[in-house]
């Protein structure tokens, strides 16, 4: 879902090699960087891991928006540590993508000029402190739902990055829910903020899983390659089933009049988000697309002299060392 709209690439490789490759995956073997792999597998992975990495990096911004306004020293430290983790997760994922023959700078440039996407969720604004709770609880909750199965993905470096990420991520959702608990048990104003945050983040969170893909050929290919482990609808259903009781515990109302328990499927029936809004946001028309990309571009452009300066110093040091030998 951090990689919401990945179409797997068709592949024109030798059928015999393809079959052997598929057999390895079916046997549960991991594919490692130097192994033979179909071009489609490589390209799909680069796009998916890259999009996931970009989502972590852009995902720093909506929460970073509140670091300087956190209400207590402890909350500030927790939020900062959490947003820092997102940077770390982006770094691990770029590292995994780099084993496929693309550099981090190349991926970054593709994010900055719009050739690559990031998750739609980060184009929504964070307006109150309760949004820090809602993002942790709902957005990280949805992310974890996707990431946990990806620990078993067929590509070794991706799988190892996901294992590390999941281990670190486990505190993120809990800290978000903890904020929501304090708000929901707090003053009337705090409670109102909590409900407002849920109202604004509920449908965008459901969109994180991407549109229904149960009949998609691309999805089927990605699932055969084990770079996608579940359908979007499966994960969305699981997310709703997990989240609704948590909202009830908080005494908050999920903004869906048609939400009800369905005994037959042992899950909730719920309303779909507005998919036209989703496609609009992906196209760049979300509330914060412009600011988010501008912020990343500014960081990159403003940082160029720093990156170049430290490289130049490293080269001088190397030259001096060689001269001394």
């Amino acid at each position: 879902m951090y990689a919401q709209m990945i179409k797997s690439e068709a592949t024109a490789d030798d059928p015999e090699k393809l079959a052997a490759f598929q057999a390895r995956i079916d046997a549960g073997e991991k594919i490692e960087p130097k192994d033979w792999m179909p071009e489609g597998y490589r390209k799909t992975l680069i796009r998916q891991i890259g999009q996931h990495a970009h989502s972590e990096i852009v995902g720093q911004l909506p929460e970073g928006n509140w670091i300087t306004r956190a209400p207590t020293l402890e909350r500030k430290a927790i939020l900062l540590a959490k947003v820092q983790d997102e940077a770390g997760h982006g770094l691990y994922l770029y590292g995994a993508a780099e084993t496929l023959g693309v550099s981090r700078d190349e991926l970054t440039e593709m994010l900055l000029d719009g050739r690559m996407k990031y998750s739609s969720i980060f184009n929504y604004p964070t307006l109150t402190w309760a949004d820090m709770g809602a993002v942790g609880w709902l957005v990280d909750g949805a992310a974890i739902m996707n990431q946990v199965p990806l620990q078993r993905t067929s590509y070794g470096p991706y799988s190892r990055a996901m294992i590390r990420i999941c281990k670190e991520e486990s505190f993120h959702q809990r800290q978000g829910y903890h904020i929501m608990m304090k708000m929901a048990q707090g003053t009337p104003a705090q409670k109102k903020m909590a409900q407002d945050a849920l109202n604004r983040f509920w449908y965008p969170s459901l969109m994180m899983f991407g549109p229904s893909d149960k009949d998609s050929v691309h999805s089927a290919q990605s699932m055969a390659w084990k770079i996608k482990m579940n359908t979007n609808d499966e994960l969305r259903q699981k997310f709703v089933d997990q989240t609704v009781p948590q909202a009830e515990y908080l005494g908050l109302t999920v903004p869906d009049a048609d939400l009800r328990w369905n005994e037959n499927k042992a899950g909730y029936d719920f309303s779909q988000p507005d998919w036209s809004e989703f496609f609009d946001v992906l196209k760049g028309n979300g509330p914060c697309n412009t600011e988010r990309l501008a912020a990343r571009n500014k960081a990159w452009d403003d940082g160029a002299w720093v990156r170049d300066g430290l490289m130049a110093h490293a080269a001088k040091k190397r030259a001096a060392r060689v001269a001394a030998e």
């Binding site: 590292g95 190892r160 490289m311």
Partner: protein, 94 residues
Amino acid sequence: MKNEWPLWEVFIRGQHGLNHRHVGSLHAPDAELALKNARDVYTRRNEGVSIWVVEAQHITASAPSAKGPMYEPSESKVYRHPTFFDIPDEAGHM
């Protein structure tokens, strides 16, 4: 201008007495900063007591196509493993 910081592989000793283990990679302009970056990126949760960094281009890796000749010959040397030998219980722990 293409001036990307080189890629480094990071190895961390998690506890005293254990081997260093590969944990991931990062970018840094030189070895000194690679070490510091590794400290900041990979030991945020108290994961290490020692760090190695190696510039990725200096690692020599075995080729996947050589898997058979490289590793299969050792499969048949079963006598290298203690379980190959049946020792009666009466002989005591061995």
